[in-house]
């Protein structure tokens, strides 16, 4: 079909520029190779370097290659650099190299070739420079790509090195440091509705009064003017500061101001004057609905107590929030409860 032919010719023009200078270099006649998982550039690889690998090495290497990082393919997480660069770039399996424009014949024949030198194709180095910038998509919670509350742990946990379970080669992995598990966006593919519900269910099964919703881990966060709700897991934050920055990332125009960011050890209380500054100075304030159904300003009570009583969060306009419970009343309430 003529369209296809045109497309193919355009392809060779459009995308071969980063790679054409590699064609002569690479003995297998194709693009510059990059392992999909971000192992180092393998321009020097020919079949000779791969075949002498011992079985054990391969197992270790394939294990390394299966470690997960967040970020785009081709980017490398800093912790992995040193170890992985030492290994020759290898693949999980060894596949023949495929040229840019595979014809059907080539495909058939190359798949029957031996597998001694497998290299994955990838993009050229131009990808790396913004790969670093873009790994922020996964490691930070950019407001544009918010994840459901259940996957919020992306920001909380370390950049991961996932050690696959149950593989026979696990014991070879003693050289790499055990680290926090990977939190990949949207994986495993479980709906956030399910994740949220399960989390709430687990919490509630511990409760005596059996009333779901009270003191639940997940609370809804709404914001005046924003059409959608979010849910956050209060347990995943240690203090007001963390909650504040997470919410800030979720709602762009939201500013919590200084609430909770004072952060001196154990000091989660705000003075009355600070609250007033907050209300006067900033556009939005964070409020919550407590067990009694009252709307209070966030930050009045110690964090642990807050988690216990908070049913819902709402980001209100400062002007709407005037008249909400200021510190003294909140303290009275908490005394009454204690």
């Amino acid at each position: 079909m003529s369209t296809e032919e045109e497309l193919q010719s355009n392809v060779s023009v459009a995308s071969s520029s980063p790679t054409s200078n590699c064609i002569s270099r690479n003995t297998l006649g194709g693009l510059k190779e990059h392992n999909y998982l971000g192992l180092s550039d393998c321009s020097s690889v020919g079949s000779s370097t791969l075949s002498p690998l011992a079985e054990d090495d391969k197992a270790t290497i394939s294990l390394k290659a299966t470690e997960l990082t967040l970020g785009l393919p081709g980017s490398q997480s800093p912790a992995r650099d040193t170890e992985l660069n030492l290994l020759s770039p290898v693949q999980l399996d060894e596949k023949p190299f495929f040229p840019l424009l595979p014809s059907k014949d080539e495909i058939c024949s190359s798949s029957q070739k031996n597998n001694a030198s497998g290299n994955k194709r990838g993009f050229s180095d131009t990808m790396d420079q913004f790969a670093e910038a873009k790994s922020s998509v996964y490691t930070e919670k950019n407001w544009m790509f918010p994840e459901a509350a259940a996957t919020q742990s992306v920001t909380k946990k370390d950049v991961p090195q996932n050690i696959p379970k149950g593989q026979s080669s696990t014991t070879n992995n003693s050289s790499s440091p055990p680290a926090a598990k990977a939190q990949i966006v949207g994986w495993p593919p479980v709906r956030s509705y399910r994740k949220n519900t399960l989390a709430t269910t687990c919490k509630n099964s511990d409760e005596v009064d059996g009333r779901p919703g009270s003191g639940a881990l997940f609370v809804k966060v709404s914001m005046d003017g924003a059409p959608y709700l979010r849910k956050v897991d209060l347990r995943s934050y240690a203090n007001y500061g963390e909650l504040s920055s997470a919410l800030e990332k979720m709602f762009t125009t939201f500013t919590l101001g200084q609430c909770g960011s004072n952060g001196a050890a154990g000091k989660d209380m705000l003075s009355e004057t600070k609250l007033k500054d907050l209300l006067n100075g900033k556009d939005y304030v964070l409020t919550y609905e407590d067990k009694d159904g009252d709307w209070m300003l966030v930050g009045d009570v110690p964090w642990e107590m807050f988690i216990d009583v908070c049913k819902k969060l709402k980001i209100m306009k400062g002007c709407d929030a005037i008249g909400l419970a200021a510190a003294p009343r909140a303290m009275e309430k908490s005394k009454m409860r204690a």
């Binding site: 079909m1 392809v11 999909y36 149950g166 709906r191």
Partner: protein, 585 residues
Amino acid sequence: MGLRLPSKVLEHILSFIDSNEDRNSVSLVCKSWFETERKTRKRVFVGNCYAVSPAAVAKRFPEMRSLTLKGKPHFADYNLVPDGWGGYAWPWIEAMAAKCPSLEEIRLKRMVVTDECLEKIAASFKDFEVLVLTSCEGFSTDGIAAIAATCRNLRVLELRECIVEDLGGDWLSYFPETSTSLVSLDFSCLDSEVKISDLERLVSRSPNLKSLKLNPAVTLDGLVSLLRRAPQLTELGTGSFAAQLKPEAFSKLSEAFSNCKQLQSLSGLWDVLPEYLPALYSVCPGLTSLNLSYATVRMPDLVELLRRCSKLQKLWVMDLIEDKGLEAVASYCKELQELRVFPSAPDLDEANIPLTEQGLVFVSKGCRKLESVLYFCVQFTNAALLTIARKRPNLKCFRLCVIEPFAPDYKTNEPLDKGFKAIAEGCKDLRRLSVSGLLSDKAFKYIGKHAKKVRMLSIAFAGDSDLMLHHLLSGCESLKKLEIRDCPFGDTALLEHAAKLETMRSLWMSSCFVSFGACKILSQKMPRLNVEVIDEHPPETRPESSPVERIYIYRTVAGPRMDTPEFVWTIHKNPEIGVSHLAIK
């Protein structure tokens, strides 16, 4: 010269044709058949709300009674589609209100529905009867109240896993005292407590009520009282089972259930304590559908329940069922057609559950009617897949999620290529397939070669090169929806098979190697494809060879959409417009 059927005769013939695929074929025969068909189509299905304009649909099908729309791509369920992407119901509601006021049923999936939309529905369609919203968001309980208050003939109101701004339980009280038409009510995704007395009265005056799905805020006492008033229910979603265990509570519950002699489907069961499960025993022999996927019940309590469910056709459960439990299912639930096993701890670092590939093998061997599988498991083997394929060639839907990305066959350390080859080859009627685990290009060669009836394919963390995509796009003849994430390929195969994309509903690729340059070419060459680049950064600020974060390509006759947010870039069809003006919003 042919004989022309009088249109009345044709109309009569067409009244027997319900399937929209058949009707689409009918409408292609000739102009007069097109006209007759379009004037008689009552149920309209639009799989991608951006594939066609609302006005065009309203104009074409003036006798529309039922409209079903889908919005966001499937991967939106897993947070891969940023908020604000689109899928707005409003333009559709507006167009239908103007052109099709006899509309009676609206079903929306993954769309943004506002209170304004709901109010418009309530105000515009006098005979409105059915509203089903699945995985929708953007509305509050006020909108629901408007529907309840105004739609006098409302039969079905179902909110399935929606994100609703819950302003309280008052919405329920908006059902007028005169409304007696309710057949199905599902408010399981709402949080707030509704007034139980309102609910009791509503149920009492709805003799046709067959399906009732409560939210967790409804207590056991409430449930008992409702069951007493609606013993005719065929589908029940319970409220929360978490309550103080009192002996009289148990016997009341038991009695209430035993009076529900027509109950076929049971769900909800949040927080269910094992001690309460025996209250359900009386309904088990009649159950055809059981959703325990939110019930944190473990073995052996689960088996005690399941061994009584001999007629069960559909079972949704968590991996707490373990291999042992599935073995029991295989021996007791011989009518099983659909099995879904969800992970109880979706995060990778949670405790191990003794659920392995063996569980699915048991069910595949024991349940001859099994045709639909969704199975989450930490790791798998080729041998298991071979057995499953051999035993169950009648599988229509096979979705395996090996939770560990890139996990090979844990016994042989090989990729799972052979296993999925067996599935593709053996299950000739397979329509939906999701693959996972370590897979090389070979696996996709097999899938392309054999999976001729697969319409929807989901792939994550797989393959080695562009060949994978090439195999799929050249081989899978029936492919309609392809969604791919984190796979190392892009441009070549995509451009080579651009024409194929027009035969499909949509293609989603995220975290792959598709360059902006290729997107441009594709968009310019294929006028009836919308190529959406969903990326935080403006694509022109980077080299053309740089990969974009996500692309969503779908066929459309409506042209590029006008409601894209900042981070979605639709590439201009006119190549003469230079690079700097390439992206339009």
